[in-house]
Symmetry: C2
């Protein structure tokens, strides 16, 4: 991971000093680095060449970082991971361009893995992520049902994790069937990751996630716990105010809805769905060679459903 | 070119309907399609495979389109090529994401040329363009001298044209020396193209370029004609108000400065510099096989310096 960090930081070496500072700020703000960890463990488990794996891990994390920069700008988010976002400090033009620059450098890194199918997959994944965000933007944050929810989190989160483990397998000396197993492993882990994130938005303590409890719903984003609650309480009069995928309720009523969802079995049902994805992910993982890296990936999968932040 | 247009249009086939409409609008707004024309003529001149050439031409034009979408958003431009810009019709978030989507699809097309060095070059070019824009943004639109002007237009325009002709040569059955000749051909043509654009901003009629005469300078962007004027009239009291690369003058005084530049030899000197670039470009082109496409490229080069819009 130290090599991955170093490679990411040197991406700004030949660019404008302000941009270098911004890149430094973004990278030192941290994050769990789950995507590069997934890519390195998967690659090492399958015998991928070390140097290409480091490049892939950096490319994946930088693509993720670039999408966060544009996302925070779009959402007007001022904080992320306990640090100020770029748009909280910079003008929108500078923020747009910094995101573009990080996209460009992540694409360059992806090309440096010297693997064309990987590169195509990388570009296609970016298109899926962005199309997902646009769909959410245009559809009044999506239709409020689980089917649309699954499509949305697949684009938002699972697509990149799927690409990550698939790409690590692609540069490894393994047959196509193993690449497909690793793709599905990444996909289900990504679905679980996002579902747990969405549950934590309801159950986490404010200081842990750095956002008020139920912030997604308060901002109009209906996630899995809210959807299960709606299915179980179709008669709740507050749900009648759902228009075009958004609740038109006063803040205090929204807050009471958040509290009711927290107390409801909707949380348990959501977590069970997350656990089901992890279980499926581990089944796909079980086709890989049994070694230390596989054990670490199993631990990572368990961490993903059991984490509190 | 029809095949290129068709390939560009189908890039939105599997995405959200609103995004499809936006893509359609952007592509039908037209433009001179100089970059795909350069790529197709260069490739055909050197024997590149037809299908990959079409893909390359579409990738290059889509990369160009994506940068324009973000540029117009950043500049707050409402019109381009006589059509409304995307940001004039859509929210900033939708515009940012549409630009991202077009980047993603252009990267995917570039990967589909099945040529890794080309792909690396493509990603590196995007980084150069974006870094150039950021430098311009942070440096108060650049230091006001010709050296910085050249660096700026290289990043803004010549880098993509250089990539275009170089990439067309890369997928052709030619030695490295020819690839380098084609790169330099594209570079000098790109420099000439931007210089002539900057001259036309002063000399063009308002209805031809769709912008007021001298709009660059009025918006604080100091281009080659203004730089030559400054070198020739260092005692002009108006030039004393140049701070951090920007004139701090009243609008009416700026307009009188524009008129004086129009009448000055600064225009001739700028055009001469543009012609010099075209001459150098044609020297590099002269190493290519003499055929119809080479003739067409020579004509294109002459069109670039002699055009009125």
């Amino acid at each position: 991971m130290k090599q991955v960090e170093a490679l990411m930081r040197c991406q700004g070496a030949d660019c404008h000093p302000e941009l270098r500072t911004a890149l430094e700020h973004l990278l030192s703000a941290g994050g769990k680095r789950i995507r590069p960890t997934m890519s390195i463990l998967t690659g090492r488990m399958l015998g991928a060449p070390h140097d290409r794996l480091i490049i892939l891990a950096a490319a994946v994390e930088m693509l993720h970082t670039a999408t966060l920069v544009h996302d925070d700008l779009i959402d007007g988010a001022l904080m992320r991971r306990g640090s100020k976002t770029l748009n909280a400090q910079w003008s929108p033009p500078a923020t747009v361009l910094t995101g573009d620059f990080i996209f460009a450098r992540s694409a360059k890194l992806a090309a440096e893995t010297d693997h064309l199918p990987l590169m195509k997959n990388f570009a296609a994944t970016l298109a899926i992520i962005v199309n997902g965000e646009l769909t959410q933007l245009f559809s009044g944050r999506g239709n409020a049902d689980r089917e649309h929810y699954n499509i949305r989190i697949q684009a938002k989160t699972a697509s990149l994790m799927e690409m990550t483990t698939r790409a690590a397998a692609m540069i490894s000396p393994v047959p196509d069937a193993m690449i497909e197993n690793m793709r599905l492993f990444g996909y289900h882990l990504g679905m679980a990751f996002q579902i747990v994130d969405d549950v934590l938005d309801f159950t986490g303590e404010q200081n842990e996630v750095g956002k008020p409890v139920g912030s997604d719903l308060l901002q109009g984003l209906i996630t899995l716990p809210a959807l299960y609650y709606m299915e179980r309480h179709a008669q709740d009069p507050r749900l009648q105010s759902l228009v075009n995928g958004k609740f038109l309720l006063e803040r205090s009523i929204m807050e009471s809805l958040v509290q009711d969802i927290r107390k409801d079995d909707a949380i348990k049902l959501s977590l069970a769905e997350g656990r089901e994805h992890v279980k499926t992910a581990l089944q796909y993982l079980s086709h890989a060679p049994k070694n230390d890296e596989r054990q670490a990936l199993e631990d990572l999968a368990k961490f993903i459903v059991n984490r509190r932040t």
